[in-house]
């Protein structure tokens, strides 16, 4: 039976001025035709701004079509009487977990939907019990949502829709704001609902790995349905997907590369097991020995040296707790260093020490910038006199930020910190002026600040026609860049980025990383990257710091770190897809050179083993 039937659907974005006159009209969706079977698991892919969120809202009657019809189990969303029935039957879960929980207690929030549709009280309790059970949140029913993790909040939101007894749930990027463990937790819940409760699922996502188990994938590009098929069918066409700013799962990409280089592999491989099975036919089995661990790379020219850094909350009381404990590490000048750790491991606290936003409880940070910061003069007040005396910089290049007279405010201009979702800090009337905010705070004149801002905007690749626009008018990806430019304009020597690609589509992530990599390669900027994505860390970082429970657990090159998969998993982290594959291949007895952790490296390693086999045969 068809649960959703969309015919000739079109939708326009309409912008109106103060007098309600239409200023601008642009087509968001055009001439969509599709049906979705009851009980199926359908994923919708599309880049930022492709119209997929609008499509989700149209399915629930939150937006109404400009042309064509949307039928949800036979009812037209444009009929007002049908609307409440439709919303009862199709639940919706949105991206931001905070903005969809209404009540201050978990169980009351789950009961909100049934209350609205007038379910009798005893029945509400039964539904709430059952809904919490299905998402396994019963233990948290009396908690405040503010005390839950992102993944738990999303499960509460899912329970909230389940309590309405829906036949279908539409999820609009429910995992975009979560960390990997939260993402896995939500995805597991969704798959369970589909399998056990037979609820139809429509999942909108940017993460290709989440779609592998779907029954069907729809790709929307510029408001049109451009691809429609099983994951195997869709992911077979890698080049076409990339032209829609999408991507394929890393394993699929690896298999595709291997095939193109002459290995006899089928198209559209999706999982590790599948790839392993296929590789068995073309690789010679032998005795594999683990290659030696790569040598620990020494840090020769540290720009930052962190020694015995601790941060204690409420020291000396019974509530004393360490956010950071005895951290020791060095950051190589001009390198990309990744900081990984699960939520609450102390990553954010750590980076906020580096630019002086937080003060260390114990220990110190030593900096060695190319441009030496002058010390603040010693100031003494004596009645109406103010005595100023130059302070002498201690000998040596390096200086501790705890040094008497060290200008902590100046440190913020040397160590630029880009927070997570930095676009939420934009405030000026146009982009250029917003980017000038930092340099002007630094004390530069308007002309100088403008020059610096323009340079920064060019470096993040924002075209000139956007500079004069309001930062609230431009697209999400452009906002992100403008915000990063706002920090770059201060010409920092160290740039810290906290999850810079969160919420961007695959091509957006790729573009941004390429630019960051360029800052590092061309200008020799030192970059610290806080990231959840092990694949990105493997690809871009030269050094990795692993934090857990406020302590530095490991540090070294990515090859070194990702050789310890078990230790990482114990800390609630993972390793890149490729590291898992290579580990499994070695276990199966294939000899592979090196320690590849990116697709390119893995492809080379497998190919060399393949060629070796060919030669011997």
């Amino acid at each position: 039976m068809k649960i959703i039937d969309v015919r000739n659907l079109s939708y326009d974005y309409v912008r109106r001025d103060e007098n309600d006159k239409v200023v601008e009209k642009s087509r968001a969706l055009s001439d969509l035709n599709l049906t979705i079977e009851e009980g199926s698991f359908v994923c919708i892919l599309g880049h930022n701004g492709s119209g997929k969120s609008t499509f989700a809202k149209l399915l629930d009657g939150l937006e109404l079509p400009a042309e064509g019809t949307v039928l949800v189990s036979g009812r037209d969303t444009r009929e007002e009487e049908a609307l409440w029935e439709i919303r009862k039957e199709t639940g919706m879960v949105f991206q931001n977990p905070d903005n969809q929980i209404i009540a201050s207690v978990v169980e009351e929030d789950v009961g909100f939907g049934p209350e609205n549709i007038g379910v009798p009280t005893p029945e509400i309790w039964k539904r709430v019990d059952r809904a919490l059970e299905t998402v396994q949140m019963t233990a948290y029913r009396l908690k405040s949502p503010n005390r839950l993790s992102g993944g738990q909040k999303q499960r509460v939101a899912i329970a909230g829709t389940m309590a309405m007894l829906p036949r279908c749930i539409v999820l609009d990027e429910p995992t975009a704001m979560l960390d990997p463990s939260g993402r896995a937790e939500v995805l597991r819940t969704i798959q369970d609902l589909n399998r056990r409760e037979k609820v139809s699922i429509i999942l909108i996502t940017h993460y290709m790995e989440e779609t592998v188990n779907a029954d069907r994938i729809l790709v929307i590009d510029e408001g049109r349905l451009v691809m429609d098929g099983s994951p195997r069918e869709v992911f077979r066409e890698i080049e076409r997907l990339k032209s829609y700013r999408m991507d394929v799962p890393e394993l699929t990409e690896l298999a595709w590369r291997l095939k193109r280089r002459g290995m006899p592999l089928p198209d559209g491989i999706l999982t590790r097991e599948e790839l392993l099975r296929e590789l068995k036919h073309c690789l010679p089995a032998g005795r594999a020995e683990d290659p030696p661990l790569p040598e620990h790379r020494e840090i020769t020219d540290p720009i930052l040296r962190i020694s015995h850094l601790s941060h204690v909350y409420q020291k000396g009381t019974a509530m004393e707790s360490y956010a950071l404990r005895d951290l020791n590490c060095e950051i190589q000048r001009g390198s990309i260093t990744a900081i990984i750790g699960h939520t609450g491991s102390g990553k954010s606290t750590f980076v906020q020490h580096l630019n002086g936003l937080l003060e260390a409880s114990e220990g110190e940070i030593l900096v060695n910038f190319r441009e030496k910061l002058p010390l603040l003069p010693e100031e003494k007040r004596f009645l109406f006199f103010r005595l100023r005396r130059e302070r002498k910089r201690p000998e040596g290049e390096e200086i501790s930020i705890e040094t008497e007279g060290f200008d902590r405010k100046a440190l913020r201009f040397k160590v630029g910190l880009v927070f997570q979702y930095p676009e939420y800090q934009l405030f000026e009337t146009d982009v250029l002026r917003d980017v000038m905010f930092g340099p002007k705070n630094e004390g530069f004149s308007d002309e100088e600040a403008e020059e610096m801002a323009k340079e920064a905007l060019r470096r993040v690749g924002l075209p000139e026609e956007i500079w004069e626009k309001s930062p609230f008018e431009i697209s999400g990806g452009q906002k992100r860049r403008a915000a990063i430019a706002g920090v770059l304009a201060m010409r920092p020597e160290v740039l810290i980025l906290d999850e810079p690609t969160a919420g961007l589509d695959p091509a957006g992530r790729e573009d941004l990383f390429r630019q960051i990599d360029e800052l590092h390669r061309v200008e020799g900027m030192t970059i610290l990257l806080v990231s959840h994505s092990m694949d990105d860390v493997a690809r871009y970082a030269e050094q990795v710091l692993v934090l857990s429970g406020g302590e530095l657990k490991m540090s070294g090159s990515p090859e070194e770190i990702f050789s310890h998969i078990e230790a990482l998993e114990e800390m609630g982290l993972g390793a890149p897809q490729m590291s898992y594959l290579i580990r499994d291949m070695r276990r199966a007895g294939y000899a592979l050179p090196g320690r590849p952790d990116t697709v390119e490296e893995a492809a080379e390693a497998i190919l060399s083993a393949y060629r070796e086999g060919e030669r011997n045969a």
Binding site: V119, I124, F427
Partner: protein
């Protein structure tokens, strides 16, 4: 850290007073306040003190939490006491230059002080034993009569409970935005009044934008969950009077009668 902010001053223990219907607690607090203004004699005040002491005991809230509310009132209390002490005309019992202490003054000041203290303690007892959400619920149900006058009682209560949920989130967000602007060299501490006010712009604009965005998203989420106002809604936790609630009402009524009666008796 900021998420730990608690609103109101609810003290979470399980007691008879905690379990009472919020409407009972709201109305009883009002009646108790009324009684304090009714009584004139010391013996009636003693009754009020004894009642409150018994209720505090029943509520299992430590007394030091009760007195927290008093601390804020201390200045007002001292001011009104000293005014009454020295400015009431009557039989002078002690004087120091122009300051005259009168017998009537002492009596009125003492009455005033005990009235104020009891008032504050009484309302603290209510807020300490009722969660903000129960209070909103109680207000919504208790004031539902006003619906006849077209007062949007349900909407007001919904707004209050949403505000309660989002205040900690917005506080945290403010902190985040402040840090982000500080990372761009913003300075909120130095400068004169005007400069400091100007320095708030980079915080307030993003905060408002984000608050509106949240409001918009929340409205969509509520609509998706079939919310359409108070009409035809049922309650997961409806307020229903239990036996103890009626007993409490009866008890308060009896107390009020005693207070009214005390006015007509020649009590000290």
């Amino acid at each position: 850290m900021l998420r730990e902010v608690t609103l109101g001053q609810y003290y979470p223990v399980d007691s008879v007073i905690h379990r009472l219907d919020p409407r009972v607690k709201l109305l009883s607090t009002l009646l108790y306040m009324l009684s304090l203004f009714l009584v004139k004699s010391w013996s009636a005040y003693l009754l009020a003190v004894l009642l409150l002491a018994a209720l505090i005991r029943l509520s299992k809230v430590p007394f030091r939490f009760m007195t927290k509310g008093l601390r804020g009132m201390l200045f007002l209390l001292l001011l009104s006491v000293s005014f009454n002490l020295f400015l009431t005309p009557g039989e002078v019992i002690w004087h120091f230059y122009f300051l005259k202490l009168t017998r009537e003054g002492v009596r009125i000041a003492a009455m005033m002080a005990s009235r104020l203290i009891l008032l504050v303690l009484g309302s603290s007892l209510m807020t300490l034993t009722t969660t903000p959400n129960q209070l909103t619920d109680g207000l919504e149900k208790g004031l539902s009569i006003l619906k006849l006058l077209h007062v949007p009682v349900h909407e007001i209560a919904m707004m209050m409970s949403i505000a309660l949920r989002f205040i900690p989130i917005l506080v945290e967000e403010t902190d985040k935005i402040m840090k982000a602007q500080m990372a761009r060299g913003a300075d909120f501490e130095s400068g004169g009044m005007f400069q400091r006010a100007k320095a708030m712009v980079p915080i307030l604009v993003p905060l408002f934008v984000s608050a509106f965005r949240r409001a918009n998203e929340l409205a969509t989420a509520m609509e998706a969950r079939c919310y359409r106002g108070g009409e035809g809604r049922t309650k997961m936790k409806p307020l229903r009077y239990e036996k103890r609630d009626f007993l409490a009402y009866g008890f308060m009524l009896f107390y009020l009668l005693l207070c009214v009666g005390s006015r007509f008796l020649p009590l000290p």
